[in-house]
C-alpha cells in the first residue's frame, strides 16, 4: 500500500503546478479586465481597407 505515498506526491506535484499557473495568471494581470477579452475575441482580426 506504500505506493499510495508516491501517488499522493505525484498528484500534489500536478496540483501545485496548476496553483503556480494560477498565481502567474493573477500576477500577469489576466484578471484585471475580465469583460474586455470576451468581447474582443469576437472581432475580426484584420479588417480589409
Amino acid at each position: 500500500m506504500k505506493i499510495i505515498i508516491l501517488l499522493v506526491i505525484l498528484s500534489l506535484i500536478i496540483a501545485i503546478s496548476f496553483l503556480i499557473a494560477f498565481i502567474w495568471s493573477v500576477k500577469s494581470g489576466q484578471y484585471e479586465d475580465i469583460e474586455g477579452p470576451p468581447r474582443r475575441i469576437l472581432f475580426d482580426k484584420n479588417i480589409k481597407k
Binding site: K2, L19, E35
Partner: protein, 800 residues
C-alpha cells in the same frame, strides 16, 4: 424634413431625431455632433463600429471649443500625464467613463487607423481605461486627446486623476481566494483517505498524510487568512473586539488542536474544516469587495475642476496649473468651461449655470464688473475674468472645506456584528460550562475535547457568512440596476429609514435644461423671430423654454397682443397673426403625447408644434406615489419656488417643500428632522447638497455620466434609474429577512455540531461534513433568495 408622425432615431447615438435632425444619404442623425463623429468613423473605414452594437455612439452635450485642450501642448503638463517614455514612444493612460459596449472597445483599439502615429491603444473594459502608446515624432498628447474627444470619448483629466487605489485591493483577494481554495481541496482529499480507511490505515501512510495536510494548510493559514489577522489586529489596537477576532481565535484554536492531535497520534485534526472556513469566508469578502471596484466614491472638488487655467499675460495666453493662479491674474474662460476661481468679469457676456453649486436651475446673466463664482459653467461665448481670490480661497472650496461639512460618517459595524460578538461570548461560556461539567465528572479528555470542539464547530462563521453573502448578492444585483453602495455594511441602515429628503435641480430634474423638439413645417428665420417676439411678451416658463430653444437675438414689436392664462397667447407681428398655445387654444384635436405640446398657428394655418418634454426625470411621479406609503417626504431646493405646482403634482398636495435653501439650511433642516427621531435619507446631486449628505443617515448621490464629481456619499444611483428607489429600498430591506431565515437554517447545523461537541465526541469527520455543508447551504440559499426578491420587485438580475 421632419413630419408630424414618423419618428426617426439617430444612427450614431440612438436618440430621437428632433428639429436639429440631419439626414444624409438616408442616414439620420439627431444633431451635427453625432454626424461629425460618424463622418470621422466613416472616412477611416471604421463603420464596423455600427455593426457590432446598435447605435453605440455617445451624444455630445457640451461641444468643446477648439482651444479646450491647448493646455496639453505645455511640456510640463505633458510630462505629468505621461506614465512612461521610451525614446520617442510615449505611453499614456486615460479614464474614459463613456466606454459601455463592444463597439467602444472595437473603435478605441483601432485609433491607429485614424492617426497612424498612434502605435497601439488598449482598452481595459472593466476599469474603463485606455492605454495609448504613440510616437511623439508623429503626433502629440494634445492631438491624441483631441482625437478621443472628437469621437465623443473625452478623457477625464483632473487634478487627482492619477490616484487609483481601488484596483489592487481586489486582486489580493483573488489570489488569496485561489490559494485558499487549493489548500481546502487538497487537505480535504488527504482527510478523505483517513475517513474512509476507518482506522485501518498503515502507520507510515497515516503519518505522511498528516504531515502533508499540515504543510498544505500552511499557505492558507499564513497567506490567505492574513486579511482576517490584519483586521482583527487593527481592531485590537483600537481596543475593539471586532468581527474578525472570533474568526482568528477559531482558526488558531483549530490549528493548535489539530497539531496536538497529529503530534500525539490521536487523530488527524480539523485542518480540512479550518481551510474550509478560510475559503468560504474569503469568498464572501471577495464578493463584497467586487462592488466597490467600478465606481469611485468620495470624489471631491478636485476632480470637478479643470487641471489648468488659461492665463493671459501681456495679451498672450498660456496654460498654467490652477493652483499657481494668484489674485489679479487674468484668466480666459472658454465656452462651456467651468469657472475655476472667483473673479470679476472683465470681458465678454456671461451666462453662467450655477446649478451644481447652488441648485438654481436657470443660468444667471452676469454683467461686466460683477463677480462670478467658481464652480459655475459658462454657457455663452468666451470670457475673461480678473481673479479675485486664488483657487484655495474661492467660495466653493472654502464651502467644501467648511468644518461642518467635513464631519465624517463613521462606518459603524451593524447589529449583526454585535450579535456575532455576543454569540462568540455565548459559545465561549457554553464551552466553559461543558468543560466544568466534564471536569466534575473527572473525565479530563472529554473536558478538553468539549472546550475546544465547541469553539471549532460554533464559530460565528455561519452568521457572518449569511450576512456577507446576502449583502454581497444584494449589492451585486443593485449594481446591475445602477445603484452602487459604498460599503455593504450600509445595507442594514436602510431598515430604520423613515424620511426621504430630495433635492430638486439635478436630482429630480434632468441635468440639461429643457428638452424641446419642434415638428412641422420648416421655420424660416422671420417666423422664428415672430414666435420669439410674441413669447417675449409672456412670462410663462414653457414660452421661455421655446425662446431658449429658438435662440433669436433681436425681437420685433408685437401688436394687439393678448395672453389667455393657461391657454396661450396671440398677437400681430409683421402683418401676420400668430397664435401659440395648447391644442384647445388653437382648436385642433391632438392625440396623447408625453410632455407639453405647444402649437403654433399663423393666419389660422397650423405651422407646427413644439414638444417640451418634462425636464423632470422619467417615472418620478410613480416613485413618489410608492414612497409616500411608507416614508415621509421632504423637498429641499436651492432654487426659487416657481416649480411648486409641478412638484406638488408629483409628491402630492400636502408635500412639504422648502425653497431657496442654502447648503447650511439644508443641513439644518435635516438635523431638525433627526432631532424628531427621524432617520433620514438624503437624495441629492451637487455640491450644494454636500452638507446635507454629511448630516443625513444615508446619503444617495444621483450621478449622470458626464459629471466627474460625486460629493462624499454612501451610495450612487445613476440618474436614469432614480425612479427605482422604492424598489431598491424594499430590496435592501428584504436582506434582513433573508439573513434571518438563512441564519436559522445554519443554526440547525450548528446545534447538531454542538450536540456532539458538548458531549466531547465531535469527530473530525462530523466537523468536516457539517462545516462545508452549512457553508454551501448558506451560499446557495442566499443567492437564490436574493434573486427571488429581486425579480419579485422587477429589478434586473443580470448585466444584460
Amino acid at each position: 424634413m421632419s413630419s408630424f408622425t414618423s419618428q426617426t432615431y439617430c444612427v450614431h447615438c440612438g436618440s430621437e431625431c428632433g428639429h436639429d435632425a440631419l439626414t444624409v444619404a438616408e442616414t439620420n442623425f439627431c444633431c451635427s455632433g453625432c454626424k461629425m463623429v460618424y463622418d470621422i468613423i466613416q472616412n477611416n473605414n471604421l463603420c464596423e463600429y455600427y455593426n457590432i452594437h446598435d447605435t453605440p455612439g455617445i451624444k455630445t452635450i457640451y461641444k468643446w471649443s477648439s482651444q479646450k485642450f491647448d493646455y496639453l501642448s505645455n511640456k510640463e503638463i505633458v510630462n505629468q500625464l505621461i506614465s512612461f517614455r521610451n525614446g520617442e514612444e510615449e505611453h499614456v493612460e486615460f479614464y474614459l467613463p463613456q466606454i459601455h459596449c463592444s463597439s467602444c472597445l472595437w473603435l478605441l483599439e483601432r485609433l491607429y487607423q485614424i492617426n497612424p502615429a498612434i502605435i497601439s491603444s488598449r482598452v481595459n473594459f472593466y476599469n474603463k481605461k485606455i492605454y495609448i502608446t504613440y510616437d511623439s515624432t508623429g503626433t502629440n498628447l494634445k492631438e491624441v486627446v483631441e482625437l478621443l474627444a472628437s469621437l465623443a470619448y473625452e478623457p477625464h483629466i483632473s487634478l487627482d486623476g492619477k490616484k487609483n487605489t481601488a484596483t489592487e485591493y481586489d486582486d489580493q483577494y483573488g489570489l488569496s481566494l485561489g490559494i485558499a481554495g487549493f489548500c481546502f481541496g487538497n487537505v480535504m482529499l488527504m482527510s478523505l483517505a483517513e475517513y474512509f480507511s476507518a482506522g485501518t490505515m498503515e502507520y507510515s501512510i497515516h503519518t505522511f498524510i498528516s504531515i502533508a495536510s499540515i504543510v498544505i494548510s500552511l499557505p492558507s493559514l499564513l497567506y490567505s487568512a492574513r486579511h482576517f489577522y490584519m483586521s482583527a489586529w487593527k481592531g485590537l489596537r483600537k481596543g475593539i473586539l471586532n468581527i474578525d477576532f472570533p474568526i482568528v481565535l477559531a482558526l488558531f484554536i483549530t490549528f493548535g488542536r489539530s497539531l496536538y492531535e497529529i503530534a500525539s497520534g490521536t487523530g488527524i485534526g480539523y485542518l480540512d474544516s479550518m481551510t474550509g472556513i478560510i475559503f468560504f469566508m474569503l469568498i464572501s469578502r471577495w464578493l463584497q469587495s467586487r462592488t466597490y471596484k467600478k465606481i469611485f466614491f468620495d470624489k471631491d472638488y478636485k476632480s470637478f475642476f479643470p487641471v489648468y487655467a488659461c492665463k493671459i499675460v501681456n495679451g498672450i495666453s498660456e496654460y498654467v496649473e490652477l493652483t499657481t493662479v494668484k489674485a489679479h491674474d487674468i484668466l480666459r474662460i472658454h465656452s462651456n468651461e467651468i469657472i475655476p476661481v472667483d473673479g470679476i468679469l472683465s470681458k465678454g457676456s456671461a451666462q453662467i449655470d450655477y446649478s451644481f453649486v447652488s441648485g438654481e436651475s436657470n443660468p444667471v446673466v452676469v454683467e461686466k464688473g460683477e463677480l462670478v463664482y467658481s464652480g459655475g459653467r459658462q454657457l455663452g461665448s468666451n470670457l475673461e475674468i480678473v481673479v479675485a481670490k486664488e483657487f484655495s480661497k474661492s467660495k466653493l472650496i472654502s464651502l467644501w472645506n467648511n468644518s461642518i461639512f467635513r464631519t465624517k460618517h463613521e462606518l459603524n459595524h451593524d447589529e449583526y456584528d454585535k450579535i456575532a460578538n455576543y454569540f462568540t461570548l455565548g459559545v465561549i461560556m457554553l464551552g466553559g460550562i461543558a468543560g466544568m461539567y466534564w471536569m466534575l465528572q473527572k473525565e479530563y479528555t472529554y473536558m478538553w475535547n468539549a472546550i475546544v470542539t465547541v469553539l471549532i464547530v460554533a464559530c460565528p462563521c455561519a452568521l457572518l457568512l449569511s450576512k456577507n453573502f446576502t449583502y454581497g448578492n444584494i449589492a451585486r444585483i443593485l449594481s446591475y440596476n445602477g445603484f452602487f453602495l459604498r460599503s455593504t455594511e450600509l445595507i442594514s441602515r436602510f431598515n430604520k429609514v423613515s424620511t426621504f429628503v430630495f433635492d430638486k435641480t439635478g436630482t429630480l430634474t434632468q441635468p440639461y435644461y429643457e428638452n424641446v423638439n419642434y415638428f412641422g413645417n420648416r421655420l424660416e428665420d422671420s417666423m422664428k423671430r415672430a414666435i420669439s417676439s410674441l413669447l417675449n411678451q409672456s412670462t410663462h416658463p414653457l414660452g421661455k423654454s421655446i425662446q431658449r430653444f429658438l435662440l433669436v437675438k433681436e425681437h420685433v414689436s408685437v401688436d394687439s397682443f393678448k395672453e389667455y392664462s393657461g391657454k396661450g397667447i396671440e398677437g400681430w407681428i409683421e402683418d401676420r397673426h400668430i397664435k401659440i398655445g395648447s391644442a384647445d387654444f388653437v382648436k385642433i384635436s391632438d392625440s396623447g403625447q408625453v410632455g407639453s405640446v405647444i402649437f403654433v398657428m399663423c393666419d389660422s394655418k397650423l405651422i407646427g408644434k413644439f414638444i417640451i418634454h418634462n425636464s423632470y426625470r422619467d417615472g418620478i411621479d410613480k416613485m413618489f406615489a410608492k414612497l409616500k406609503n411608507n416614508f415621509k417626504i421632504l423637498l429641499l431646493s436651492g432654487d426659487n419656488a416657481n416649480e411648486t405646482e409641478n412638484i406638488k403634482k408629483f409628491i402630492g398636495q400636502d408635500a412639504v417643500l422648502k425653497f431657496n435653501q442654502s447648503p447650511q439650511d439644508k443641513l439644518h433642516s435635516i438635523k431638525e428632522l433627526q432631532d424628531q427621531k427621524e432617520n433620514v435619507v438624503m437624495v441629492g446631486d451637487g455640491l450644494n447638497d454636500s452638507g446635507a449628505f454629511q448630516q443625513s443617515d444615508i446619503a444617495i448621490c444621483v450621478a449622470d455620466d458626464d459629471k466627474g464629481f460625486t460629493p462624499a456619499c454612501d451610495a450612487i444611483i445613476e440618474g436614469r434609474n432614480l425612479h427605482l428607489i422604492p424598489e431598491i429600498v424594499r430590496f435592501l430591506q428584504s436582506g434582513k429577512i433573508t439573513i434571518k431565515v438563512i441564519f436559522g437554517i445554519s443554526a440547525v447545523y450548528n446545534l447538531i455540531g454542538l450536540y456532539f461537541a458538548l458531549q466531547g465526541i465531535l469527530t473530525p469527520l462530523v466537523a468536516a461534513i457539517l462545516m462545508p455543508l452549512s457553508s454551501v447551504t448558506i451560499i446557495g440559499l442566499s443567492y437564490l433568495w436574493s434573486l427571488r426578491s429581486a425579480s419579485k420587485l422587477l429589478l434586473k438580475t443580470t448585466t444584460l
